[in-house]
Symmetry: C2
DNA sequence: GGAGGTTGTCGAAACGTTTCGCACAACCTA
DNA sequence: TAGGTTGTGCGAAACGTTTCGACAACCTCC
């Protein structure tokens, strides 16, 4: 690779002048600048990021820390990563994919000690997350996709759960439903402290109350079989429920089985709405399910942008909440007659 | 951060001695070494990757180039990335996630010119891929997940399509089926030159012939609706078919709808097998589908390892083929009576 | 007892940038 | 004409490593 020195020689100027001309860091006479730019182009000069980073203490590399949940990564998480990578690239940054080990804090200590990354993007943030404490204490700039229990002091992008729940409730209320139930994510797959599960439950209850709808929750099926059982129990306990929102794909499949087992059909006898699931997944059901699709790529992009903004200048921490997108499917309809 | 010089001062030795002691790059007296190590530990010394890379021309950073298909990224592709990142980490490397723009070659030129990465991992490789030519010409070490038309000269990890097809055929033949059909990926979602689609079709035909099974293909439904139509056409043309392998999830959903529309059931009247789809997706169907799950994470790991091996020393190009894993579901059964 | 080898350490150069103080000429102003 | 002000460019130092030749001290063997 050609270096700054090669360019300087070819343009007959000093190395420092080339640097100044190429970076616009201080004024360079127009003629000289043109000569330098031409020499650089002819040599196909590319600045060496390592040298630049070593000197300037800024690498323009971001790390995306991702956990490896036992169940594997979902489509949603993938989109965080690709969205963040794309936004980073647009702004001239690179994204390092950093798997989290058993000890995330130690991992972070290592990663940030290397001098390789300018900032860290955290995902799968828990309500109480030790990583944020470490990063704050270490003075490493970071942003979150998701949020902790007390997130106001930290840049973050997250789902607007309140708006999402309101949209979902408005959707079924608009169809005429008067009683709604919600099946949350299973406690097995996500611990209690998993933000989305906790927040979604709360916001659904609030939205249903405000809309004057009957509301049932407390079910947390994590598989098709559990979904079927939960549905049967729900129908036994609350026979008036005509609309059901489900957070787990597999559980939704079980609900459909339960519906069929009763001789019922969707959407005639039950309106079924998926929550936090991609339209892609929702389209694989029969009938296709209405879903509230999380804005994952968007959140990834926002997270990366916030982090980069933070690196470039400061200001008060910012937070962006984005609601899920309601994608209507064939599973929404008016409430069944006789309820 | 503390530097090598800080450690040297504290241990009362020269900087170069610290470097030697810590890297084992040349012998250092045991006592000195111990003193140095202690000083390093006390200061929490971490080598600066940038400085090291600048000097040694080796950054231990790999780039994973990923395209952003219009349809979005699948679970499969995600696992390539996480698998590769994990393997890289285990071997002391880092993985840079690099989104591909409209002009992948220019992208590569840029990326490799930065001096930031030691090697490149390519995924979504096409049968004729301009990226491989560029990288070979530029002398940049790389490996592929997937393979080109003539892959023998390049390190790569890919699915063993032949074994996968044989396993699938053996599975249905073992259940007693005598006639099999295959619905490939749609030409819309993947161009003709997409390797997996091309190879899978060929290997299925071969495996069926070798097993003495009747075989039908040429269908390429890309959506639920197309899947239903293809199924109806298949039944009209080849009423003797009792087993069907489908590569597209959505198409499979359509097939299930078509089966139901005929008053048939799975698996009693049709054995349905998913190909190249995750067990997770297969479990969302009702009944759950038998699937040939691609070893995506494994391929990602293998790709990263191969690339790292290549960086550390040379040898002949290596290739690893891994078959899909057959995950039995509720959609496999003996052929329907009367066929 | 000196030639030759071995062992352990040091200092300096190099990697490719950025940054900063300084030199120098040209030009303006009083 | 002396003194100040711009505009432009140069050279050197610094960032934190690795690498390599030099060299002192010690051991070994004739």
């Amino acid at each position: 690779m050609s270096s700054l020195r090669d360019v300087a020689e070819r343009a007959q100027v000093a190395v420092s002048t080339v640097s100044a001309a190429l970076n616009g860091t201080r004024p360079v006479a127009a003629a000289t600048k043109r000569r330098i730019e031409q020499a650089a182009a002819e040599l196909g000069y590319r600045p060496n990021l390592l040298a630049r980073g070593l000197q300037s203490k800024r690498t323009r590399i971001l790390a995306l820390l991702f956990p490896t949940p036992a169940g594997g990564f979902g489509h949603t998480e993938m989109l965080f990563a690709t969205g963040a990578a794309e936004a980073a690239k647009e702004l001239g940054y690179h994204l390092l994919l950093s798997p989290e080990s058993a000890d995330p804090v130690d991992e972070l200590r290592h990663l940030t000690g290397l001098g390789l990354v300018d900032g860290v993007l955290l995902m799968e943030v828990r309500l109480d997350d030790e990583r944020t404490e470490f990063l704050s204490a270490a003075g490493v700039p970071f942003a979150m996709i998701g949020r902790t229990r007390e997130p106001d002091a930290i840049d973050h992008a997250d789902i607007d759960f309140a708006a999402t729940a309101r949209d979902a409730v408005a959707h079924v209320a608009g169809l005429g439903h008067r009683e709604l139930a919600f099946f949350n994510l299973s406690p097995g797959r996500y611990a209690e402290s998993y933000g989305p599960a906790a927040r979604m439950a709360g916001e659904f209850a609030t939205a249903a109350r405000e809309a004057g709808l009957g509301y049932a929750d407390g079910f947390r099926p994590g598989s098709a079989e559990e979904g079927r059982q939960a549905f049967e129990r729900l129908m036994a306990e609350r026979p008036g429920v005509t609309a059901l929102a489900v957070a787990d794909d597999h559980a939704a499949a079980g609900v459909l089985a339960g519906v069929a087992a009763r001789g019922w059909r969707v959407p005639e006898d039950l309106t079924l709405v998926l929550v936090l699931s991609s339209a892609r997944a929702a389209a694989m059901f029969h009938p296709s399910l209405t879903t509230l699709e999380p804005p994952s790529a968007e959140l990834g992009r926002l997270g990366a942008r916030m982090l980069i903004d933070r690196l470039q200048g400061d200001g008060p921490p910012r937070q962006r909440l984005v609601p899920c997108r309601l994608v209507p499917g064939g599973s929404s309809g008016p409430p069944r007659a006789g309820s």
